[in-house]
Structures are given as structure tokens and as C-alpha cells.
Amino acid sequence: MADVIYGINGPVVTVKDTTEFSMMEMVYVGRERLIGEVIGITSDYTTIQCYEETTGLKPGDPVEGTHTQMNLMLGPGILDNIFDGIERPLAEIEKEAGAFINRGSTVSSLDTEKEWDVTVTAKVGDTLNGGEVYATLPETQIITHKLMVPPLISGEVTEVKPDGKYTLNDVIVKLKDKFGTVHELTLCQRWPIRTPRPVAQRLTPTVPLITGQRVIDTLFPVSKGGTAAIPGGFGTGKTMTQHQLAKWCDADIIVYVGCGERGNEMSQVLQEFSELIDPKSGRPMTDRTTLIANTSNMPVAAREASIYTGITLAEYYRDMGYDVAIMADSTSRWAEALREISGRLEEMPAEEGFPAYLPSRLSEFYERAGRADVLSGTQGSVTIIGAVSPQGSDFSEPVTQNTKRFTRCFWALDKSLAYARHYPAINWNDSYSEYFTELDAWYNENYGREFVEYRSGISALLQEENRLMEIVKLIGSDVLPDDQKLIIEIAKIVRVGFLQQNAFHKDDTYVPLEKQKLMMKTILHLYERSKSVVAENIPISRIRDTGLFEKITKIKYDIPNDRLEMFDDYISDIDEKINGILS
């Protein structure tokens, strides 16, 4: 007897008296064949979460199993594309259904008709193990797509096609495994979204992800293969920060997951990324980007899946040996989707109505980041940068707290900084990075020992200012002695001239590390020289009158990124003016 729907409650559908299904199996629900996934089995009921709207489903409608887990099609055509939470191509759906998304769409995830220029590298007689490359093709102008043997298969090559143009489902290599089974390898493979793709060996992440954002690169760096969380209430600039990172960070591939966010934001990403030119390659950003858009009004179960879809795509490109960065905006929406479905299943809630398995799901997700020797014989990495939207801007809520446990970088966005339009509104007192020790060697090697010294100088200033501000809040700044006033003045330069960064300014939106270093050097030089003035009991107003403070604050705009030699003039100008006061 065919299996049929018994009960419906929101996205949760139940089937009675069946032994047909297995956990996490992908199923088709109803006459429109909506995609669903089995999430619970008892002897009486099988529970399915449905990835599409369930309006109009009836008891008695058919439910059909697929005998595979929820999986993705992996192959060329992922880049420069936009998918929904379960890898359906939104542009194709638009062609099929118009501006509003229809249900039960059967469009193939990747284009099956496009011809790719394939170079076959495998030869008859070769032994290929799981993850090894058998062919390559240019996916976009800057990214070479490597076709890899699915991780769980290995064997001897029995047949290869010559180089040439092939479409997605053409068989180009045949592989005979040790049991004599012949596997036909095409341009694509499938992989279940909830299972991490295997690697040969995990490595310690020792190279920073350079983002061109000063507060991140200098004070709170994240490594390639690291994890970072960006928590912040609404309006503090989480999305803006994610956009900046996606645009400028030096990863090879960007996977941008819009999980339960705004539709207009996704259209902005689409538009901006296609207009923006990557400075390294001179090609549009979309050439290295794939977008997953499950906006807040799209079905909630697909929102839950979108995070896994994103990370699986990221791992696939990592396996080719690329450094991949995945931006998940926002993981709170994903946690809420978990909560919503858990509530429909009438599970016992833990904190704030979230299910008790929230921490384990979060850790499973963040643990999929990392730098590794991959099976194709090179190295690759996945960096996860997850935005968190704490309810009521309260960082003590479960999602923020649990995320904090499983990530090693914490960029806390601050409401009062955002109100003063200090962007990126990353609070330097609450944020931290645990990657310093691993990364210092890299900074020393590439930018000299001074970089780390300057960084310590800058953070010491900020901490000292934080302490002084406690006093200033009570009694005003006029009563402070001059040496402390100087700290406040210099810290202001650090805040306004260094930490604050203008994403809309052509030079300031991305600042190379060398310039970051020179900016710190100049500010600290000004501090050291001014200290000598204050030590002579000369009032600080004398320095203020020289206009040096304003001049140094505006360095970020006044010195273009390609004219770093101008810093020498600034240093000598400081010396000249300070010497003038001292003499």
C-alpha cells in the first residue's frame, strides 16, 4: 500500500503505520511533490518536515520516499548563481513561475545543458581514491573547477573520454572498484547536506583571513579555517559587516547564506556583487561567489536546511584546494527555525523555548570549519563567519551564549557605537580573538615584528582610555592631569581615525595591511612625541593648536592606498611641529 498523509500541522506532516522510511530520508509529499525530510519515526507515526508551504495538502495525499538523505548536486555552475535553501536555482524558478515562487518546482539544481570545456587528467589504468581529481574545467574566468571522485569511491580507471565539451550528466570517466563494480563519473556528484565531507587530516590554522577592515585585521583577526561570530541587535550593522567581509576578504570562494533575512537585502547583494570588481582578478565578485537566499518569508524548514546547504557547498570547494569563506546571516534565524519545528513536534523545550539539542547542532555546524589536507592532495580551508541576532540585544540569550562557546572569534557589535554611526560598530572592549598565538608568527614573518608591537600599543591605549572614561563620566575631563588628557586625545584618534572605517569611501573601504601598520606607527609616534611635550609641563593645548590631531585622524582619507610613501612626510611633520613646541 502506498503511504499517505495522516496529519498536518504547519510545516510538519505525519504518516501513520509505515516502516517504509528511514531517518533524514528525503521524501516527496502530496500531489505537487513538495520536498520534505523525515525527522522522527515511532512505531505509529513517521514525522516529516516539509520544505514548502503545506496549504492545501490533504490527508490521503501520497508520500513517496527517495531512499536517499537530503542531498545536494555538486558540480560546475554553483558559482555565479543564486539558490534557495535546498539548492533550487532561483533564476530558473523565475523563468518557470514569474516573480513569485511556486511550489513543487522540479527544476534541476545545476544547468544540465550548458557545455563545459573539460580537460581530463585521469588515464586508463590509474588508481584513483576518493577525493582525487579526474578532470578540470574553467567554471568562471578565475576559478578552475576540479572534478573529484566521490569521497567514498575508489578504484581503477577503465575508460576515459578525450578532452572536449561535455554537459553535466555526460560520463567522462569509468572506475572499477575492488568488488568489480563499475562507477560512471560525470561532471557532478551528490552529497548529503548533514554529513561533513571527509578530509585527510585537519591542520592548525596559521594564516589570517585578510579582510582589509582595520579593527578585524589588527585587533581581532580570524584565521583561514577559523570561526567567528558577529552578534548584534538590529541596526548595529551585522549585515553591513558581512557584506564588507564578503566583498573584500582574501578567500578564493565566498558562500553567502541569507538565512531568514530580508528580500531587499538579497537583491542588493546580487546587484552590488555583480557590479563590484575584485581588485585581485579584475573580474566581477560574482565569479567567486555563490548565494543562498532563503528570505524570512520563505518556508521555515528550508531555512533550517539552508545553513547545511551552504556549508556543504563550501566543503566541496575546499576539497578542490580553495580557501572558502562562508557568511551565514543570520544563525539566530536558523536557531529559531529549529525552535519552531521543535515546538510543532511538541518536544520538551529547554532555555527560552529552544530545543535542548541547540548547542549540539551549533557545535556540529561550527566544527565543519577548519583548515585541512584535503583528499585531492592539496590544502584547503573553510572559514565560518556567522551573524547572531540576539533577541532584545541581550547577549545572555541561548544562541549567543552557545555560539560563543563554539567560535573562537567574537566581534561584538555595540548599539551605542551604531547610534553614533561609528561603523564597523565592533566594540573593542567586549570582542576577542583566540587566534593571536597561532597567527603572530605569520604577522612577524610578513610584516615585521613591529606589527604585533604596534597592535599591543594600540590596545593598551584603548584599555587605558576605557579606564579613564569611567572617571570622566563622573567628573568631566577638565580635571584630569595632562598626561591622562593626552591618552584620551590619542585614543580618540585611534577610535575615529583608525577603528572607524567608511565602507563608502573608495580608499577606506579596503585598507591593505601595510597601510594599517603605518597608520598605527604614525599614531603611536605622535603619542610618544606628545608625551615628551607633556613631560616638560607644557600644556597639551599647545599640541592641539598645531592641528596635528585632526591631521592624523584624517590619514585614512588623505593617504591613498597606493601612496604609502606619504607616511614619511607625516612622521617628519610630527617631529617638526613637536620640536617647534619643545624649543
Binding site: A99, S267, K473
Partner: protein, 458 residues
């Protein structure tokens, strides 16, 4: 053959449970006929085999276990639509209550709508001039945006909404393709009257569709009101190519209705008793704002919500803020000082503003000026808290200037008349005038070039 089911099995709040129902589909609409001849509508909200839970829109009063007969209609909740709907007044479930007769539908639409494909959206960047300085300059409203007003009981959010409607000038829109959809959820009769009168006085009534669910109307109907309104708005915008401004008030009442429904259904509550799906539910409405390819029209939303106890971290404003593209926050302290509109500019924000202002839209100096006003006003707050400890006399000269700047900013920039319509140039120039009272060295957010051009201080 149409089957009628006699009687119900359980009644709980606005929900009835029926047994032995065959062939029912999820979210289907049913007609429930009572013995006394009245007919009520309900919606299927849960199915378990032949046991069906139905939500009755008009409430379950008078329903007993055996005095009903129920008929399935075979379709989900639909809204009848035609171009004639403009100018009409309807109840919370979309039925005419202005005595002008039924609407003859040209088409019918499922009120739940479907999600707009992100690929098909046009990124909104056309600004709407509201003539209000604090909004135009600091949190600019963009066509296709959803920008809520966060207010509190007793504050002048209704006046502000009316002023926006009256003064809003949309580029390229005229009488024929500009319309307003107004949805009142659980508001007092007086408030509904105020809006009606104001629309009449402004001469826009023939361009308004009003949906009224007053505070004594059935709760469940309230959960339909915004959906009926937005379905109408989408039809007018995307099929008749009109520019539609949707005003929804009060979203807090809507959320409370949803909470009542959820708890009577026995669902596990999330924060403050609101259902766990409140975010998805609110999003399914707010996300219906926007512009799509292939249509000239647009849907712009101004939802109004009252923050219980003026608490911006309450779940309703909190979740709203995460979905909408910014917010305009009203402040009781400012209102007490007689400042109208009492917009607290620091927490107010328009996310789409950055791409809709500047050269070609408003003026080249707009962005820098706005940033500087925000930054300077934030310093005013710091100076004030210091002054409250050590007294204004003891402040440094710069801080004193900030205090003075703050006074003028609130008194002449934020404050403006209910009838006063300021052009964008007027607002920007006023901003420069205020900034010029501060020393030039304090203006660290503005390019020197612009300072040379606009700064008037010494």
C-alpha cells in the same frame, strides 16, 4: 455533492474540533451554519487523520456541541479583488462595510500570498520626500521599503502617519497611480475615525482602501486583516502598476491576537508567551513590501506599533526591527517637551537610505551631513549625562557648545509643525546651520571640500 458535518466535538476559545471529517485540506476555509441561521467562517489549522481543528473567525460564542452544521468550501482564504476596491471601506476580513454593496471580483487571491523570488526583486533606491526633516535627512524613506514607527500609547504616531500620507511625494506618481491601503487592527473607534477624517480633509479618500478591525471586533479576524490588506496592495501595485503606501496599525494588537490564538491551540510558547513562529509570521507580512521586475508599481509599508511600556526589547518591536529595513522611534521625553514629531533620531535608522540619497537623488552632501548630525547628537547625549552629574556650569567649552547644539537640534530641526512641509534643501540647509555652531575641528565625519562649501561658522 456537498457534505455537511453536524455538530462539533470540542470547543476551546476560538477553536472548534471536529471528528470524522474527510477530504479536508490544510488551511481550507469552512462555513459554519448555526441553528439561528447565522453563518460564520473558519479555517482549518490542524489535521490529524479525520480529526480537524478549525479556527472560527467571528468567535465561538453561541456555538454548542450540536447546533452547527459545517461545510467545506474547498479553497483557502481568498480575497475578492477588482480595481473598484479603491475608495472602499472593508471590515477586518475584507467584507465591505460602507453600505456600497459587494465588490464584484475580477480575480481572487489567496491572502497568504507567496514569497517574492529574491532574483525578481528590484533593489529599492527611489526616495520618498515626506517633508519631515528628521525623516528625510536622517532616516530617509525609500519606495519599496518597510519602515515601521515604534511608538507608545499616547504618543503622536497617528499624526505622524497622517502627515506622511499627506506630504509624501513619490517621483513619477500622480493621482491615478498613487494609492493608500490602510489596515487598522484592534484600534479604537476614535483612531479609525481620525484617520478617515484626515484622509478626507487631505482629499485622498478616493485613493484609500480601508480595512477596519476595531478593538472590539473578533480577535481571529485581526489575524486576517493585514493579510487581506497586503493582498489588495500587491494586486494594485503589481497588476495595476500603482504606487501603494500601506499603513498598518497597531502591529502589537495583531501579535497579541496571534498569541491568544496560539495559546488556545495549546502550542508551546516562546518569549513572553508569544508563539515560537512569531518571527516567521511577522516576516510573512513585512516581506510583502518591495518592487518586482516587470511591474511599474511598488508596495511601501509603514507599520505602526506601540511598544508595551516603551520597551524596545519587547518581542514585537524586537522581531519587527530584525525584519524591517530600519525604524523610526518616537520618544516620550521629547513629546513631553512639546516637540513634534517626537522622533528620537539616534535609534532611528533607514537601512535603504545609503543608496537612495546623495548626488542624483537628494544632494551630494546629504550622506556626510547625516552622519555628522548623528555623531554630534550622540555627543550631546554624553555631554548631558555629564552635566547631570557635575552641572552645566562646570562643563568644558566644547561640551557647552554641544549642549546648545542639542537644544537647537531638538527645538528647530526635529521640531516642526503638523502642517509644515520642508523641502529636502531646506532640511539640509538647516542641518548645516546647526552644525556651524560647533567648532569646525569637531566635524570629523565630513570631507574638507564639503566643509569649505557649506560650513558657516568661524
Amino acid at each position: 455533492m456537498i457534505i455537511e458535518y453536524v455538530g462539533v466535538k470540542e470547543i476551546n476559545g476560538s477553536l472548534v474540533v471536529m471528528d470524522g471529517v474527510k477530504g479536508v485540506s490544510y488551511e481550507e476555509i469552512v462555513d459554519i451554519r448555526l441553528d439561528n441561521g447565522t453563518v460564520r467562517q473558519g479555517r482549518v489549522v490542524q489535521i490529524e487523520g479525520e480529526r480537524v481543528v478549525i479556527q472560527v473567525f467571528e468567535g465561538t460564542r453561541d456555538i454548542s456541541l450540536d447546533n452547527t452544521s459545517t461545510r467545506l468550501t474547498g479553497h483557502p482564504m481568498e480575497m475578492p479583488l477588482s480595481p473598484e476596491i479603491v475608495g472602499r471601506i472593508l471590515d477586518g476580513a475584507g467584507r465591505p462595510i460602507d453600505g456600497l454593496g459587494d465588490i464584484y471580483p475580477v480575480t481572487k487571491r489567496n491572502i497568504n500570498g507567496t514569497a517574492i523570488n529574491p532574483v525578481s526583486r528590484i533593489y529599492p533606491r527611489n526616495y520618498i520626500n515626506t517633508g519631515i526633516s528628521s525623516i528625510d535627512t536622517l532616516s530617509t524613506l525609500i519606495r519599496g521599503q518597510k519602515l515601521p514607527i515604534f511608538s507608545g500609547s499616547g504618543m503622536k504616531h497617528n499624526e505622524l502617519a497622517v502627515q506622511i500620507v499627506r506630504q509624501a511625494q513619490i517621483q513619477g506618481a500622480d493621482e491615478h497611480n498613487f494609492g493608500i491601503v490602510f489596515a487598522a487592527m484592534g484600534v479604537k473607534n476614535d483612531v479609525a475615525d481620525y484617520f478617515r477624517k484626515s484622509f478626507e480633509e487631505a482629499g485622498v479618500m478616493q485613493r484609500v482602501v480601508m480595512f477596519l478591525n476595531l478593538s472590539n471586533d473578533p480577535i481571529i479576524e485581526r489575524t486576517l486583516t493585514p493579510r487581506c490588506a497586503l493582498t489588495t496592495a500587491e494586486y494594485l501595485a503589481f497588476e495595476l502598476n500603482m504606487h501603494i503606501l500601506v499603513i498598518m496599525t497597531d502591529m502589537t494588537s495583531y501579535a497579541e491576537a496571534l498569541r491568544e490564538f496560539s495559546s488556545s491551540k495549546g502550542e508551546i510558547p516562546g518569549r513572553k508567551g508569544y508563539p515560537g513562529y512569531l518571527y516567521s509570521d511577522l516576516a510573512s507580512m513585512y516581506e510583502r513590501a518591495g518592487m518586482i521586475k516587470g511591474s511599474e508599481g511598488s508596495v511601501t509599508q509603514i507599520p505602526i506599533l506601540t511598544m508595551p511600556n516603551d520597551d524596545i526589547t519587547h518581542p514585537v518591536p524586537d522581531l519587527t526591527g530584525y525584519i524591517t529595513e530600519g525604524q523610526i522611534v518616537l520618544d516620550r521625553g521629547l513629546q513631553a517637551q512639546g516637540i513634534y514629531p517626537p522622533v528620537n533620531v539616534l535609534p532611528s535608522l533607514s537601512r535603504l537610505m545609503k543608496d537612495g540619497i546623495g548626488e542624483g537623488f537628494t544632494r551630494a552632501d546629504h550622506s556626510d551631513l547625516a552622519n555628522q548630525l548623528f555623531a554630534s547628537y550622540a555627543k550631546v547625549i554624553d555631554a548631558r549625562s555629564l552635566a547631570s552629574v557635575i552641572g552645566e556650569e562646570e562643563l568644558s567649552d566644547t561640551d557647552k557648545k554641544y549642549i546648545e547644539f542639542g537644544r537647537m537640534f531638538e527645538g528647530s530641526f526635529v521640531n516642526q509643525g503638523f502642517e509644515e512641509n520642508r523641502s529636502i534643501d531646506q532640511s539640509l540647509d538647516l542641518g548645516w546651520k546647526l552644525l556651524s555652531t560647533l567648532p569646525r575641528s569637531e566635524l570629523d565625519r565630513i570631507d574638507d571640500e564639503l566643509l569649505d562649501k557649506y560650513y558657516q561658522g568661524d
